[in-house]
Symmetry: C2
Subunit: 232 residues, 2 copies
Protein backbone atom coordinates (compact mmCIF):
# COMPACT_ATOMS: atom_id res chain seq x y z
CA UNK A 1 0.00 0.00 0.00
CA UNK A 2 1.37 3.38 -0.95
CA UNK A 3 0.70 6.36 1.27
CA UNK A 4 -1.33 9.20 -0.19
CA UNK A 5 -0.10 12.78 -0.26
CA UNK A 6 -2.35 15.54 1.08
CA UNK A 7 -2.28 18.94 -0.61
CA UNK A 8 -2.86 21.72 1.90
CA UNK A 9 -4.44 24.97 0.68
CA UNK A 10 -2.94 26.93 3.54
CA UNK A 11 -2.01 30.32 4.92
CA UNK A 12 -5.60 31.19 5.90
CA UNK A 13 -4.21 32.12 8.42
CA UNK A 14 -0.58 31.04 8.48
CA UNK A 15 -0.54 30.07 12.19
CA UNK A 16 -3.65 27.93 11.76
CA UNK A 17 -1.87 26.03 8.96
CA UNK A 18 1.20 25.48 11.14
CA UNK A 19 -1.10 24.29 13.94
CA UNK A 20 -2.82 21.91 11.51
CA UNK A 21 0.55 20.48 10.42
CA UNK A 22 1.58 19.98 14.06
CA UNK A 23 -1.69 18.16 14.72
CA UNK A 24 -1.13 15.92 11.69
CA UNK A 25 2.24 14.93 13.17
CA UNK A 26 0.66 14.35 16.61
CA UNK A 27 -2.11 12.21 15.05
CA UNK A 28 0.37 9.96 13.22
CA UNK A 29 1.62 6.77 14.89
CA UNK A 30 5.34 7.13 14.08
CA UNK A 31 8.72 6.76 15.73
CA UNK A 32 10.91 7.75 12.76
CA UNK A 33 10.67 10.55 10.18
CA UNK A 34 9.84 8.08 7.41
CA UNK A 35 6.65 6.85 9.13
CA UNK A 36 5.09 10.32 8.94
CA UNK A 37 2.78 11.36 6.11
CA UNK A 38 3.72 13.63 3.24
CA UNK A 39 2.02 16.99 2.88
CA UNK A 40 2.40 19.45 0.02
CA UNK A 41 1.61 22.81 1.58
CA UNK A 42 0.91 26.09 -0.14
CA UNK A 43 1.31 28.44 2.83
CA UNK A 44 -0.16 31.43 1.00
CA UNK A 45 -1.26 34.20 3.35
CA UNK A 46 -1.69 36.52 0.33
CA UNK A 47 -5.12 35.05 -0.54
CA UNK A 48 -7.66 37.92 -0.34
CA UNK A 49 -9.63 38.04 2.94
CA UNK A 50 -12.47 35.54 2.99
CA UNK A 51 -14.30 37.65 5.57
CA UNK A 52 -14.14 40.81 3.46
CA UNK A 53 -15.31 38.96 0.35
CA UNK A 54 -18.29 37.39 2.18
CA UNK A 55 -19.18 40.87 3.48
CA UNK A 56 -19.14 42.14 -0.13
CA UNK A 57 -16.23 44.45 0.66
CA UNK A 58 -13.24 42.71 -0.86
CA UNK A 59 -11.73 40.84 -3.77
CA UNK A 60 -13.02 37.31 -4.50
CA UNK A 61 -10.48 34.81 -3.07
CA UNK A 62 -11.89 32.02 -5.26
CA UNK A 63 -9.49 32.40 -8.21
CA UNK A 64 -6.40 32.49 -5.93
CA UNK A 65 -7.61 29.39 -4.08
CA UNK A 66 -8.41 27.58 -7.34
CA UNK A 67 -4.89 28.36 -8.60
CA UNK A 68 -3.38 26.98 -5.37
CA UNK A 69 -5.47 23.80 -5.72
CA UNK A 70 -4.31 23.33 -9.30
CA UNK A 71 -0.67 23.86 -8.31
CA UNK A 72 -0.94 21.27 -5.53
CA UNK A 73 -2.59 18.76 -7.87
CA UNK A 74 0.17 19.29 -10.45
CA UNK A 75 2.80 18.88 -7.71
CA UNK A 76 1.42 15.43 -6.88
CA UNK A 77 -1.28 15.79 -4.23
CA UNK A 78 -3.82 12.93 -4.14
CA UNK A 79 -6.42 14.94 -2.22
CA UNK A 80 -6.85 18.46 -0.88
CA UNK A 81 -7.65 19.96 2.51
CA UNK A 82 -8.11 23.59 3.66
CA UNK A 83 -7.47 24.26 7.36
CA UNK A 84 -9.81 27.30 7.25
CA UNK A 85 -13.57 26.99 7.74
CA UNK A 86 -14.69 30.22 6.05
CA UNK A 87 -12.59 29.33 3.00
CA UNK A 88 -15.12 26.55 2.39
CA UNK A 89 -17.61 29.19 1.27
CA UNK A 90 -15.34 29.18 -1.82
CA UNK A 91 -15.09 25.39 -2.15
CA UNK A 92 -16.84 25.41 -5.53
CA UNK A 93 -14.11 27.17 -7.54
CA UNK A 94 -11.53 24.92 -5.83
CA UNK A 95 -13.42 21.74 -6.74
CA UNK A 96 -13.96 22.95 -10.31
CA UNK A 97 -10.25 23.59 -10.79
CA UNK A 98 -9.05 20.06 -10.04
CA UNK A 99 -9.88 16.40 -10.54
CA UNK A 100 -8.75 15.28 -7.07
CA UNK A 101 -11.18 15.45 -4.10
CA UNK A 102 -11.34 18.29 -1.57
CA UNK A 103 -12.03 16.79 1.87
CA UNK A 104 -14.31 19.34 3.55
CA UNK A 105 -13.43 20.47 7.07
CA UNK A 106 -17.13 21.25 7.59
CA UNK A 107 -18.31 17.74 6.67
CA UNK A 108 -15.73 15.86 8.73
CA UNK A 109 -16.28 18.12 11.75
CA UNK A 110 -20.07 17.67 11.64
CA UNK A 111 -19.47 13.93 11.28
CA UNK A 112 -17.50 14.06 14.54
CA UNK A 113 -20.53 15.67 16.29
CA UNK A 114 -23.05 12.91 15.61
CA UNK A 115 -23.27 11.84 19.26
CA UNK A 116 -24.71 15.24 20.25
CA UNK A 117 -28.13 16.65 19.33
CA UNK A 118 -27.58 20.37 19.86
CA UNK A 119 -24.25 21.56 18.54
CA UNK A 120 -22.85 25.03 19.30
CA UNK A 121 -21.02 26.68 16.41
CA UNK A 122 -18.33 29.10 17.52
CA UNK A 123 -17.33 30.97 14.39
CA UNK A 124 -16.78 34.18 12.45
CA UNK A 125 -19.29 36.30 10.45
CA UNK A 126 -18.18 35.00 7.04
CA UNK A 127 -18.55 31.33 8.00
CA UNK A 128 -21.88 31.95 9.77
CA UNK A 129 -23.36 34.02 6.97
CA UNK A 130 -22.39 31.40 4.36
CA UNK A 131 -24.49 28.87 6.32
CA UNK A 132 -21.77 26.21 6.08
CA UNK A 133 -22.33 24.57 9.47
CA UNK A 134 -26.09 25.23 9.55
CA UNK A 135 -26.55 23.30 6.29
CA UNK A 136 -24.23 20.41 7.21
CA UNK A 137 -25.71 20.00 10.70
CA UNK A 138 -29.27 20.03 9.30
CA UNK A 139 -28.32 17.39 6.73
CA UNK A 140 -26.96 15.26 9.58
CA UNK A 141 -30.21 15.73 11.52
CA UNK A 142 -28.53 17.85 14.20
CA UNK A 143 -29.55 21.25 15.57
CA UNK A 144 -27.17 24.20 15.29
CA UNK A 145 -26.90 26.51 18.29
CA UNK A 146 -25.63 29.75 16.80
CA UNK A 147 -24.04 32.93 18.14
CA UNK A 148 -26.10 36.13 17.72
CA UNK A 149 -24.92 39.15 15.74
CA UNK A 150 -23.14 40.79 18.69
CA UNK A 151 -21.41 37.54 19.65
CA UNK A 152 -20.17 36.79 16.15
CA UNK A 153 -18.82 40.35 15.80
CA UNK A 154 -16.97 39.89 19.10
CA UNK A 155 -15.52 36.57 17.86
CA UNK A 156 -14.28 38.34 14.71
CA UNK A 157 -12.50 40.90 16.90
CA UNK A 158 -10.85 38.08 18.91
CA UNK A 159 -9.84 36.11 15.79
CA UNK A 160 -8.34 39.26 14.22
CA UNK A 161 -6.28 39.75 17.40
CA UNK A 162 -5.01 36.14 17.18
CA UNK A 163 -4.15 36.69 13.51
CA UNK A 164 -2.17 39.77 14.60
CA UNK A 165 -0.11 37.52 16.90
CA UNK A 166 -1.94 38.27 20.14
CA UNK A 167 -2.80 35.28 22.33
CA UNK A 168 -3.22 36.85 25.74
CA UNK A 169 -5.43 35.55 28.53
CA UNK A 170 -8.19 38.10 27.84
CA UNK A 171 -8.65 36.67 24.33
CA UNK A 172 -8.96 33.14 25.69
CA UNK A 173 -11.44 34.38 28.31
CA UNK A 174 -13.46 36.20 25.65
CA UNK A 175 -13.70 33.05 23.52
CA UNK A 176 -14.68 31.00 26.56
CA UNK A 177 -17.53 33.44 27.32
CA UNK A 178 -18.83 33.16 23.77
CA UNK A 179 -18.71 29.34 24.03
CA UNK A 180 -20.44 29.45 27.43
CA UNK A 181 -23.28 31.51 25.94
CA UNK A 182 -23.90 28.70 23.41
CA UNK A 183 -23.88 26.12 26.23
CA UNK A 184 -26.40 28.27 28.15
CA UNK A 185 -28.64 28.11 25.10
CA UNK A 186 -28.51 24.31 25.04
CA UNK A 187 -25.35 23.32 23.16
CA UNK A 188 -24.16 19.86 24.28
CA UNK A 189 -20.85 20.33 22.50
CA UNK A 190 -19.17 23.35 20.92
CA UNK A 191 -17.40 23.30 17.57
CA UNK A 192 -14.33 25.52 17.21
CA UNK A 193 -15.45 26.35 13.67
CA UNK A 194 -12.59 28.70 12.89
CA UNK A 195 -9.02 27.36 12.88
CA UNK A 196 -7.70 30.35 14.87
CA UNK A 197 -9.96 29.45 17.84
CA UNK A 198 -8.02 26.33 19.04
CA UNK A 199 -4.83 28.43 19.06
CA UNK A 200 -6.16 29.95 22.31
CA UNK A 201 -9.30 28.05 23.42
CA UNK A 202 -8.63 24.58 24.86
CA UNK A 203 -11.03 21.78 25.89
CA UNK A 204 -10.25 22.18 29.62
CA UNK A 205 -11.77 25.68 29.50
CA UNK A 206 -15.30 24.43 28.74
CA UNK A 207 -17.90 22.37 30.64
CA UNK A 208 -18.92 20.54 27.44
CA UNK A 209 -16.73 18.90 24.76
CA UNK A 210 -14.91 21.31 22.44
CA UNK A 211 -14.70 19.83 18.94
CA UNK A 212 -11.68 21.40 17.17
CA UNK A 213 -12.23 21.48 13.42
CA UNK A 214 -8.43 21.58 13.06
CA UNK A 215 -8.00 18.38 15.08
CA UNK A 216 -10.76 16.55 13.22
CA UNK A 217 -9.34 17.52 9.82
CA UNK A 218 -5.84 16.47 10.93
CA UNK A 219 -7.08 13.06 12.08
CA UNK A 220 -9.00 12.48 8.85
CA UNK A 221 -5.99 13.61 6.79
CA UNK A 222 -3.75 11.05 8.51
CA UNK A 223 -6.41 8.32 8.15
CA UNK A 224 -6.72 8.97 4.40
CA UNK A 225 -2.98 9.38 3.83
CA UNK A 226 -2.18 6.10 5.58
CA UNK A 227 -5.00 4.19 3.87
CA UNK A 228 -7.05 3.63 7.07
CA UNK A 229 -9.93 5.62 5.57
CA UNK A 230 -10.86 5.45 1.88
CA UNK A 231 -11.04 8.58 -0.26
CA UNK A 232 -14.72 9.09 -1.18
Amino acid sequence: MTDKTAGVIGGMGPEATVDFMARVIAATPASTDQEHVRLLVDQNPKVPSRQAARAGKGEDPGPAMAAMAKGLEQAGADFLVMPCNTAHAFAQPVRSAVSIPLVSIIEVTVDACREYKNVGVLTTPGCLEAGLYQDALATAGLTAVLPDETEVAEMMRLVAAVKAGDRNEAIARGMRSLAAALVDRGAQAVVAACTEIPLVLTPDMLDVPLVSSTDVLAEVTVAIATGVRPLD
Copy 2:
Protein backbone atom coordinates in the same frame (compact mmCIF):
# COMPACT_ATOMS: atom_id res chain seq x y z
CA MET B 1 8.18 45.38 -5.08
CA THR B 2 6.73 41.89 -5.22
CA ASP B 3 7.35 39.48 -2.37
CA LYS B 4 9.41 36.39 -3.15
CA THR B 5 8.18 32.88 -2.44
CA ALA B 6 10.40 30.48 -0.52
CA GLY B 7 10.35 26.79 -1.43
CA VAL B 8 10.90 24.63 1.65
CA ILE B 9 12.49 21.19 1.18
CA GLY B 10 10.95 19.90 4.39
CA GLY B 11 10.01 16.90 6.47
CA MET B 12 13.57 16.25 7.66
CA GLY B 13 12.17 15.90 10.26
CA PRO B 14 8.54 16.98 10.09
CA GLU B 15 8.48 18.72 13.48
CA ALA B 16 11.59 20.72 12.63
CA THR B 17 9.84 21.96 9.46
CA VAL B 18 6.75 22.98 11.44
CA ASP B 19 9.03 24.75 13.94
CA PHE B 20 10.78 26.54 11.06
CA MET B 21 7.42 27.70 9.65
CA ALA B 22 6.35 28.98 13.09
CA ARG B 23 9.62 30.91 13.37
CA VAL B 24 9.09 32.43 9.91
CA ILE B 25 5.71 33.73 11.10
CA ALA B 26 7.25 35.03 14.34
CA ALA B 27 10.03 36.78 12.38
CA THR B 28 7.58 38.58 10.07
CA PRO B 29 6.31 42.05 10.99
CA ALA B 30 2.59 41.54 10.26
CA SER B 31 -0.80 42.23 11.76
CA THR B 32 -2.96 40.61 9.05
CA ASP B 33 -2.69 37.32 7.15
CA GLN B 34 -1.83 39.13 3.91
CA GLU B 35 1.35 40.72 5.35
CA HIS B 36 2.90 37.28 5.94
CA VAL B 37 5.24 35.65 3.43
CA ARG B 38 4.32 32.81 1.12
CA LEU B 39 6.01 29.45 1.51
CA LEU B 40 5.66 26.41 -0.74
CA VAL B 41 6.44 23.49 1.54
CA ASP B 42 7.15 19.91 0.57
CA GLN B 43 6.71 18.28 3.98
CA ASN B 44 8.20 14.97 2.86
CA PRO B 45 9.26 12.75 5.78
CA LYS B 46 9.73 9.85 3.34
CA VAL B 47 13.18 11.09 2.21
CA PRO B 48 15.70 8.35 3.07
CA SER B 49 17.64 8.95 6.30
CA ARG B 50 20.48 11.40 5.83
CA GLN B 51 22.29 9.92 8.82
CA ALA B 52 22.14 6.36 7.45
CA ALA B 53 23.36 7.50 4.03
CA ARG B 54 26.32 9.41 5.51
CA ALA B 55 27.19 6.32 7.54
CA GLY B 56 27.18 4.30 4.31
CA LYS B 57 24.27 2.21 5.55
CA GLY B 58 21.27 3.57 3.64
CA GLU B 59 19.81 4.75 0.38
CA ASP B 60 21.10 8.03 -1.07
CA PRO B 61 18.56 10.78 -0.26
CA GLY B 62 20.00 13.03 -2.99
CA PRO B 63 17.62 11.99 -5.81
CA ALA B 64 14.50 12.42 -3.60
CA MET B 65 15.72 15.85 -2.46
CA ALA B 66 16.53 16.89 -6.03
CA ALA B 67 13.02 15.86 -7.13
CA MET B 68 11.50 17.90 -4.30
CA ALA B 69 13.59 20.93 -5.31
CA LYS B 70 12.46 20.61 -8.92
CA GLY B 71 8.81 20.30 -7.87
CA LEU B 72 9.05 23.42 -5.72
CA GLU B 73 10.72 25.37 -8.53
CA GLN B 74 7.99 24.29 -10.96
CA ALA B 75 5.33 25.28 -8.40
CA GLY B 76 6.72 28.83 -8.35
CA ALA B 77 9.39 29.05 -5.65
CA ASP B 78 11.92 31.87 -6.17
CA PHE B 79 14.51 30.35 -3.83
CA LEU B 80 14.92 27.20 -1.75
CA VAL B 81 15.69 26.48 1.90
CA MET B 82 16.14 23.20 3.82
CA PRO B 83 15.46 23.34 7.56
CA CYS B 84 17.80 20.37 8.15
CA ASN B 85 21.53 20.78 8.60
CA THR B 86 22.69 17.26 7.68
CA ALA B 87 20.62 17.46 4.47
CA HIS B 88 23.15 20.04 3.29
CA ALA B 89 25.65 17.22 2.79
CA PHE B 90 23.41 16.55 -0.24
CA ALA B 91 23.16 20.19 -1.38
CA GLN B 92 24.95 19.42 -4.65
CA PRO B 93 22.23 17.25 -6.25
CA VAL B 94 19.64 19.82 -5.11
CA ARG B 95 21.54 22.73 -6.67
CA SER B 96 22.13 20.77 -9.89
CA ALA B 97 18.40 20.04 -10.26
CA VAL B 98 17.20 23.65 -10.31
CA SER B 99 18.04 27.11 -11.60
CA ILE B 100 16.88 28.95 -8.44
CA PRO B 101 19.28 29.44 -5.51
CA LEU B 102 19.42 27.22 -2.41
CA VAL B 103 20.07 29.44 0.62
CA SER B 104 22.34 27.33 2.85
CA ILE B 105 21.42 27.01 6.53
CA ILE B 106 25.12 26.36 7.23
CA GLU B 107 26.30 29.58 5.57
CA VAL B 108 23.70 31.87 7.14
CA THR B 109 24.22 30.32 10.60
CA VAL B 110 28.01 30.72 10.42
CA ASP B 111 27.41 34.31 9.26
CA ALA B 112 25.42 34.88 12.45
CA CYS B 113 28.42 33.71 14.52
CA ARG B 114 30.95 36.26 13.29
CA GLU B 115 31.15 38.10 16.62
CA TYR B 116 32.59 35.00 18.34
CA LYS B 117 35.99 33.43 17.79
CA ASN B 118 35.46 29.91 19.11
CA VAL B 119 32.14 28.47 18.06
CA GLY B 120 30.73 25.25 19.53
CA VAL B 121 28.93 23.00 17.07
CA LEU B 122 26.21 20.87 18.65
CA THR B 123 25.25 18.35 15.99
CA THR B 124 24.72 14.80 14.78
CA PRO B 125 27.24 12.32 13.33
CA GLY B 126 26.16 12.85 9.71
CA CYS B 127 26.54 16.62 9.84
CA LEU B 128 29.84 16.41 11.74
CA GLU B 129 31.35 13.78 9.47
CA ALA B 130 30.40 15.77 6.35
CA GLY B 131 32.48 18.67 7.72
CA LEU B 132 29.77 21.20 6.88
CA TYR B 133 30.30 23.54 9.84
CA GLN B 134 34.05 22.92 10.10
CA ASP B 135 34.56 24.10 6.51
CA ALA B 136 32.21 27.10 6.75
CA LEU B 137 33.66 28.26 10.08
CA ALA B 138 37.23 27.94 8.75
CA THR B 139 36.32 29.96 5.65
CA ALA B 140 34.93 32.66 7.97
CA GLY B 141 38.17 32.64 10.00
CA LEU B 142 36.46 31.15 13.06
CA THR B 143 37.46 28.13 15.14
CA ALA B 144 35.07 25.19 15.48
CA VAL B 145 34.78 23.58 18.92
CA LEU B 146 33.52 20.08 18.17
CA PRO B 147 31.92 17.27 20.15
CA ASP B 148 33.98 14.09 20.46
CA GLU B 149 32.82 10.70 19.17
CA THR B 150 31.00 9.73 22.39
CA GLU B 151 29.25 13.12 22.60
CA VAL B 152 28.07 13.07 19.00
CA ALA B 153 26.72 9.52 19.43
CA GLU B 154 24.85 10.69 22.55
CA MET B 155 23.41 13.65 20.59
CA MET B 156 22.20 11.25 17.88
CA ARG B 157 20.40 9.22 20.56
CA LEU B 158 18.72 12.40 21.90
CA VAL B 159 17.75 13.63 18.42
CA ALA B 160 16.25 10.23 17.56
CA ALA B 161 14.15 10.43 20.75
CA VAL B 162 12.90 13.91 19.73
CA LYS B 163 12.07 12.56 16.26
CA ALA B 164 10.08 9.79 18.00
CA GLY B 165 8.00 12.49 19.73
CA ASP B 166 9.79 12.47 23.06
CA ARG B 167 10.64 15.87 24.56
CA ASN B 168 11.03 15.06 28.23
CA GLU B 169 13.22 16.96 30.68
CA ALA B 170 15.99 14.31 30.59
CA ILE B 171 16.47 14.96 26.87
CA ALA B 172 16.77 18.70 27.42
CA ARG B 173 19.24 18.08 30.27
CA GLY B 174 21.26 15.72 28.07
CA MET B 175 21.53 18.32 25.32
CA ARG B 176 22.48 20.99 27.85
CA SER B 177 25.32 18.78 29.16
CA LEU B 178 26.65 18.28 25.63
CA ALA B 179 26.51 22.05 25.06
CA ALA B 180 28.22 22.70 28.42
CA ALA B 181 31.06 20.37 27.43
CA LEU B 182 31.71 22.55 24.37
CA VAL B 183 31.66 25.68 26.55
CA ASP B 184 34.18 24.01 28.93
CA ARG B 185 36.45 23.52 25.92
CA GLY B 186 36.33 27.21 25.04
CA ALA B 187 33.18 27.76 22.95
CA GLN B 188 31.99 31.37 23.29
CA ALA B 189 28.68 30.51 21.60
CA VAL B 190 27.02 27.22 20.72
CA VAL B 191 25.29 26.54 17.42
CA ALA B 192 22.23 24.29 17.52
CA ALA B 193 23.38 22.71 14.26
CA CYS B 194 20.51 20.23 13.98
CA THR B 195 16.95 21.54 13.65
CA GLU B 196 15.62 19.07 16.23
CA ILE B 197 17.83 20.59 18.95
CA PRO B 198 15.90 23.89 19.42
CA LEU B 199 12.71 21.84 19.87
CA VAL B 200 14.01 21.07 23.39
CA LEU B 201 17.14 23.16 24.09
CA THR B 202 16.45 26.85 24.74
CA PRO B 203 18.83 29.83 25.15
CA ASP B 204 18.02 30.25 28.86
CA MET B 205 19.54 26.81 29.54
CA LEU B 206 23.07 27.87 28.55
CA ASP B 207 25.65 30.30 29.98
CA VAL B 208 26.70 31.38 26.47
CA PRO B 209 24.56 32.40 23.47
CA LEU B 210 22.74 29.54 21.72
CA VAL B 211 22.57 30.22 17.97
CA SER B 212 19.59 28.30 16.56
CA SER B 213 20.16 27.40 12.92
CA THR B 214 16.36 27.22 12.55
CA ASP B 215 15.91 30.79 13.81
CA VAL B 216 18.69 32.16 11.62
CA LEU B 217 17.31 30.46 8.51
CA ALA B 218 13.79 31.73 9.33
CA GLU B 219 15.03 35.30 9.71
CA VAL B 220 16.99 35.18 6.44
CA THR B 221 14.00 33.62 4.66
CA VAL B 222 11.75 36.49 5.76
CA ALA B 223 14.40 39.08 4.84
CA ILE B 224 14.75 37.63 1.32
CA ALA B 225 11.01 37.09 0.83
CA THR B 226 10.21 40.68 1.82
CA GLY B 227 13.03 42.17 -0.26
CA VAL B 228 15.05 43.41 2.75
CA ARG B 229 17.95 41.14 1.74
CA PRO B 230 18.93 40.50 -1.88
CA LEU B 231 19.13 36.99 -3.27
CA ASP B 232 22.81 36.32 -4.04
